[in-house]
Structures are given as structure tokens and as C-alpha cells.
Symmetry: none
Subunit: 265 residues, 2 copies
């Protein structure tokens, strides 16, 4: 919201955390790096536990006012850019970024007034595939392959540190290609996470309606299409156009169906 305080637009989201001490350490790491917006999604422990308070060491205000939710939807709804941290690059079916690259992109978006988020998964198993599918890219901390076990709070510290460095870096980084519309004046803000998820839901329904899958599993195609549209970072207006196209395709499918559905499949 306020370009003067870009870190206010940036939330770090802990998903399914098991150890209250990690929530406390993460809060302390965040606060020392100037980050204040924490979100706790489906924690597997009590964030008010004394271990959390002890390790927060004065950053317990972040925990007290942390957004809490049972799933990612409300936390990501207004976000235009979401990155998820992963322990390994291999097998992650999405673009990979270093913490430094990620911080640069997050800060650029936050400075433009957009809401952005970074997700941190469970101590034991990280983020699951569904959660990673909600991300525009994965942040990969280049640990030693011989010992890649990074503590959750340590990962938060590294990302928070790079965000702080990016914030202190005076010159705003070069802007990525965006959805600006020279025909219509100023640049258009990219769609929010909720708007993009709305598009993906509609796309999924429309592909079924026009019988695109023909018995094959829709998973691979949907994963590819998600990646394609995440890359494009459509504006809210572009999302509306795409909804319109999908609605017309569905209308044709209904008419075809009403006519007896011959030649389908």
C-alpha cells in the first residue's frame, strides 16, 4: 500500500509448523530484518506456547498479531506474487529462484504497492504439491548437497535477510515486463492470487465442458497452464477477458450438449 514502507506489503507465511520454538525464532528473525507481517496457516502447535515466546525474545508482538487461517486461501487472496521455499530444486515442477533473485522481485512488486508473500513449509516435509502449485516460483536456498537440512527459522532468516538487503538497496531494480497498457494510460496492476485462482477454476471447468481431456488426467495440462499464466502475470482486465472467452466456450458446449452431444469424445 505504502511504497515508502514496502515491507508492509510483504508477508511471510508459515504453513503447518510443528515446533512453537520455530515460530518464535522466525518472528525474531523477521523483526530484526524489519519484517512485521507474519501469517500462520494450520499450525501443528500452539503459537502462544512459552517456547515460542522465549525464542521470540521481544518479537512476540508479531506472533500475537499474526494472521491465522486453516488454509492458504484467505492469506493469499490479495497477493499478486507468491513464492514458496523448497529444500530441493530437483523434482519441483516450477521455476526456481535464489533467495536474492526472489527478494529483488518481491521488493519491486511491494514497492509498486502490491501484496506479496513467501511460504515456508513444515519442518519435516516442507510444502506439499498443492501448496507449491499456488506459487509463482520456488525459492531454493543452495545448501550443501551433502547436508541440505536447514532449520525452518534459519530458512526464514536467510529469506528475511535478503529482503532486508533488497530493501536497503537504494536503487529499485529493473521492472519486469508487466501488464501495462499504453493504449489506456498507466500500467495495470497484476491480478491478485484470488483472481488467478478464480481463472484456473474456470479454466478447469471449461476444459471439462469442451471435453478437452478425453479421458486423460487433467493434472499435467492444468499444471502447465498454471505455469504459463503465472509467467504472464495477467492484469485484472486481462483475467476478465479470459473469463469471457471461457464463458463463451462453455456456452457453446452447453448448446452442443443440448443438441444431443453427437460427435463428443
Amino acid at each position: 500500500m505504502s511504497p515508502e514502507q514496502p515491507l508492509e506489503n510483504l508477508r511471510l507465511v508459515l504453513v503447518g509448523t510443528s515446533h512453537p520454538g520455530n515460530i518464535g525464532s522466525a518472528a525474531r528473525a523477521m523483526k530484526a530484518m524489519g519484517l512485521r507481517q507474519m501469517a500462520l496457516v494450520a499450525p501443528e502447535c500452539d503459537p502462544g506456547h512459552r517456547d515460542a515466546m522465549a525464542l521470540a525474545a521481544g518479537a512476540d508482538d508479531l506472533i500475537a498479531k499474526a494472521e491465522r487461517a486453516d488454509d492458504l486461501n484467505p492469506v493469499l487472496a490479495d497477493c499478486t506474487l507468491v513464492f514458496g521455499t523448497t529444500a530441493r530444486q530437483r523434482g519441483v515442477r516450477m521455476p526456481g529462484l535464489s533467495p536474492r533473485e526472489a527478494a529483488s522481485r518481491l521488493l519491486a512488486a511491494a514497492r509498486a504497492g502490491q501484496r506479496v508473500a513467501v511460504l515456508f513449509g513444515r519442518e519435516s516435509s516442507g510444502l506439499n504439491n498443492d501448496e507449491l502449485q499456488r506459487c509463482h516460483a520456488a525459492i531454493h536456498i543452495a545448501t550443501d548437497p551433502a547436508f541440505s537440512s536447514l532449520n525452518l527459522a534459519a530458512a526464514v532468516q536467510v529469506v528475511a535477510y535478503e529482503l532486508r538487503m533488497a530493501e536497503l538497496d537504494g536503487a529499485p531494480p529493473a521492472t519486469a515486463p508487466d501488464a501495462s497498457d499504453p493504449e489506456e494510460g498507466g500500467p495495470e496492476p497484476p491480478a491478485t492470487h484470488a483472481e488467478l485462482e478464480g481463472l484456473f477454476g474456470h479454466l478447469d471447468r471449461a476444459l471439462h465442458a469442451i471435453d478437452f481431456h478425453k479421458g486423460r488426467s487433467p493434472d499435467t495440462v492444468m499444471r502447465r497452464l498454471r505455469r504459463l499464466f503465472f509467467r504472464a502475470a495477467p492484469s485484472e482486465r486481462e483475467i476478465r477477458i479470459l473469463h469471457g472467452i471461457l464463458a463463451d466456450a462453455e456456452r457453446m458446449a452447453r448448446l452442443a450438449d443440448a443438441a444431443g452431444g453427437q460427435d463428443r469424445g
Copy 2:
């Protein structure tokens, strides 16, 4: 000694540590960043305490083989470059370096076969003046002035991370967002201009077929969609998927048309 393994020449020195958990967390942070040489000077706790072992989480070998000493002399004796971490820049009467600058200088020296060290002070009071006087420069982590309380292990994590980044500098960076498909092997080349134009032609025909325009000029929408897909830079395979979707939408439109086209327009 071995320029191929510069991190072997680099030791992190914990001075007067009070909490065994911090020794364990520091060991884990170091090992995950490829650092193996830990030294413990006059610890105020038992480095073999179970809290240290628990938080080391598999990095307890670093603690077991850590150099131990009552003062800095034996630990720094063979070092040519020593930096000390400080919580605050003010009042430190020596050159100040960011962790990034420090890591760059430490790695350069370590690559040249020199022994180098970074000192980390007490949880409560940091390094004292005598200890800082042993250092060539101070490393200052730019915490938020409103909350500069960085946990000891978090400071170790930040410095170890920058050392790892400096070591990897020169290695190929993490992959940029592209159309690569790790599911299927190597990266996919982006589609050619001709393939993109082929998609736009098909898109134009499909929008007419499903009666998207409803009498309005197609120019503005097509211009927007072109821009969207140019930004996404789809791969040849993604273009094929989009052709498939458009073909199925056209098929539905034909079926609807054959059924009499009621409700169209």
C-alpha cells in the same frame, strides 16, 4: 591449504557462548552452508549438552571435532584475516563490512590458501573490546534499528549463507523462470515467432467461432491477448496445448451451430 576447497580454510569461532542450543543451531547452519571448521572459545556451557545435539540435527560432528580453547590465541594463530561480528556499527573503532563484502574478502583469501576466521560473541554482550582488537574489520548485519536483536545462530546463518553464496559465485545460477519442464527432461525452447503467429491466427478464428465479440471490433481484445502471450513466452509444447483447447472450443461451436444456433448472439 586446498584452493579447491576454500571453505576448509575458513573457521567460524564462537566466543563465550552461553546456550548449548545455539552451538547446535550454529553447527547445523554451518554444515548446511558447506562450512565444517568450528571453534569454541571459552564456552559458558557444555557443548555436548543434549540441547546442542538436538538442535545440531545431524551436524553434531562439527561440534565433536570443533577446536576448543580458553582464549583466542591458538585459534587465530595461523589466520591471516579475522573479522568479528558486531550488533552495532556505532562505537566500533574499526572498519565495518557488510556480510556480503566480508564473505567476498574471506573467500578470496581462503582461495589463495590463507587461513581466515570469523568471530561471533556472547549472546548477551557480543565480543569485548580486546577480542574486537584482534580483528581486521567488523562485520555488521544491518538489522532494523528499532529491533536489532539477532539471535547468535541467526547471525551465524547469515554469515555462513553469504560465505556459501561467495563460494558458489561463478557457478551457474539457479534457473530463471522459463518454460522448462523438469517432468520431461531438459528445458523447452520458446516457440518461434511463426508458431506464435499461428496461435494468434487460431485464437482469432476461435473467438469468432464461439461468438466472443458479439458485434464489437476484435482489434482491442486481440492486441491485449497478443501482449499477454508475448509476455508468457510460451514453449512450442504449450502452444500445442493452446491449439488443442481452441480446436475443442471450435468443435463445440460447430456442434452448437449444427443444432440450430439458438441462443447465439
